[in-house]
Symmetry: C2
Subunit: 246 residues, 2 copies
DNA sequence: TGTTGACTCTAACGTTACGTAATACCTTAT
DNA sequence: ATAAGGTATTACGTAACGTTAGAGTCAACA
C-alpha cells in the first residue's frame, strides 16, 4: 500500500494527476485511511500502468475509462496492442529523425526539399495508428453487441499455452545441436509464428526478445525449466533466424 | 503560396490549428488575399516544420514562439537539438516496449515484476530530456545576457565547412580502394568525428546516413561532385565503420 | 510533549491548445 | 447563376490537469 506521493514519484506523474484520476473515477485507490489518505495497492499500480500506456497513445481519459472498466477488457490483448502501437509510434519518430537528417544535409548542399518531404513523419492521420486503435478498442471492445472476432476464448488460450510448451520441449531436445541447424531453425520458426499470432513481432524485435531471455534471469529461470541452457540456445537460434530471414 | 486547407492536409493538422497559430502570432502567413484568405509561403512551411518539431517534444506554444522569434535563434542548431531529443524520445519508447514484453512474458510464467520495472520508460522527469532542453532553449537561447557557449560563430562554421570539404576530397582520392582498408577507415572516422561535433550520431544512425547518401539522388549528386561514385563508397565505408566499432 | 516540516485532503478557479458551432463571404466548376 | 466547397471571424466548449488556498495528519526530533 503506497501513499499518493510515493506512487507519483515512482511513475513520474503529479499528485494532482492521481487526484484527478480518482475524481473522474478512472483510478480509485483500493483503500483509504481513517483520515482520508489514499492508499494504492499493487493492483492499482497495474491499472495505472495500463492507463499510462493508453495515454502514451493519446487516448482520452474518458475512453480509457470505458475500456478498462469494460467487462470484455482483456489485459493481455491490450498489452499486445500497446506493443504494436508503440512500435508504430517509434517508426514515426524514426521517419522524423530521418527528415531532420535530410534537412540538415540538404541545408549544407543547398539542395531543395519538397514540401512533402519536409513533413514526413508528421501526418499521423495517414497511417492506421489511430484509426485502427479506435476501431479495435473504441468499437469492438466496448460495443458488446459486436462479435469478438480475433479474440481468444479461454479454451483457445489454454490450447495456445500448450502449443507453446510443446515448442519449448521440442527446442529443449535440440538444444545441444547448433542453433543454426535446419531442425533448430524449423523449431524456432514455429516459435516466431506463434508469437506473431499474438503480437506482431518484427524480426528485430524477435531477436531482441531472445536477448532478453538471457539478460533477465527471471526469464532465464522460467525457460530453463524445460532444460538447462535452453534460454541461451533460444537466444542464439532466434538471432540466426532473424538475421537469415531479413 | 498555399491556402489553409492545402497546408493542413499536407502536414496533417487542422485548419483551426493554423488559425490558432495565426491568432497567437506564432505563425502568420506571409500573404493575405484581398478577401482575407491566408496564403502560406514556402518559408512559412519551414517555420511550421520547426514548430511541429518543438511540439513533438512537448514544448508549449508560448515557449516555441519565444524561441523561433528570438534573434539568436539558429535553425541549424535547433535541428541538431531536435534530432537528439527525438532520439531520446525514441529510446524511451523502446524501454516501454521492452517493459511490455517483460510484462507479457512474465504473465505467462507467473513471475512477479517489481513496481519499479512496471513503469520503466514512463518517468520522463528522471532523464535529462526536458531539463536539458529547457536549459538550452529556455535560457541560453532566449536570455541574451548569457554567453552563447557551444555555439559556433560564422567563422567557426566556415572553418568546419572547409574541414568537411577536405574530408570529402580525401575520401574521393581513396574511393577506388577497399572501403575497409585502413586508410579508408581512418578517413571515414574523421567524418564520423566531425559529424559528432555537431549532432551526436550513434553508429547506427551513422550507417543509416550512409545508406541515405545513395538512396536519395540529390544527396548522391551533391557528394559525387567530389568524385564519381564517392557516395556509394562512403556508404560502404560508413557501414564497415559502424559494424566494426560496435 | 510539544513543535516542526513534509505530506495529505478538498474545493475552486486558471490555463493550454485547440474543437465545435454559427453565420457570412469567396471561388470555381457546371 | 447557382450550387458545392473553401474560408473568415466570433465565441463558447472542453480536456487534463496546474495552481493556489485553507486545513488537517503524521513521524521525528528537541
Amino acid at each position: 500500500m503506497m501513499k499518493v506521493k510515493e506512487v507519483a514519484d515512482l511513475v513520474g506523474i503529479s499528485v494532482r494527476t492521481l487526484h484527478h484520476y480518482d475524481e473522474i473515477g478512472l483510478l480509485s485507490p483500493d483503500a483509504i485511511t481513517e483520515s482520508g489518505y489514499r492508499l494504492y495497492s499493487n493492483n492499482n499500480l497495474e491499472t495505472l500502468q495500463q492507463i499510462l500506456f493508453f495515454k502514451e497513445l493519446d487516448f482520452p481519459l474518458k475512453k480509457i475509462k470505458e475500456i478498462i472498466k469494460s467487462p470484455t477488457f482483456n489485459r493481455e490483448e491490450a498489452l499486445f496492442m500497446h506493443r504494436k502501437l508503440l512500435l508504430e509510434k517509434r517508426n514515426r519518430l524514426d521517419v522524423m529523425i530521418r527528415t531532420i537528417d535530410k534537412t540538415i544535409s540538404y541545408t549544407k548542399g543547398e539542395i531543395q526539399m519538397s514540401n512533402q518531404e519536409k513533413f514526413e513523419g508528421f501526418d499521423f492521420s495517414q497511417n492506421p495508428y489511430e484509426q485502427e486503435a479506435r476501431e479495435r478498442w473504441g468499437d469492438e471492445a466496448i460495443d458488446q453487441s459486436k462479435a469478438k472476432v480475433g479474440k481468444m476464448s479461454k479454451d483457445e488460450q489454454a490450447a495456445m499455452g500448450e502449443k507453446m510448451n510443446e515448442i519449448y520441449r521440442n527446442l529443449a531436445a535440440l538444444r545441444h545441436e547448433s542453433p543454426a541447424s535446419p531442425e533448430s531453425q524449423a523449431a524456432i520458426k514455429k516459435w516466431y509464428d506463434i508469437l506473431n499470432k499474438m503480437g506482431n513481432y518484427s524480426l528485430e524485435a524477435f531477436k531482441g526478445l531472445g536477448q532478453m531471455y538471457v539478460d533477465d534471469e527471471r526469464f532465464t529461470k522460467n525457460i530453463d525449466q524445460f532444460g538447462e541452457g535452453l534460454a541461451a540456445f533460444m537466444r542464439d537460434a532466434m538471432a540466426v533466424y532473424a538475421d537469415t530471414n531479413q
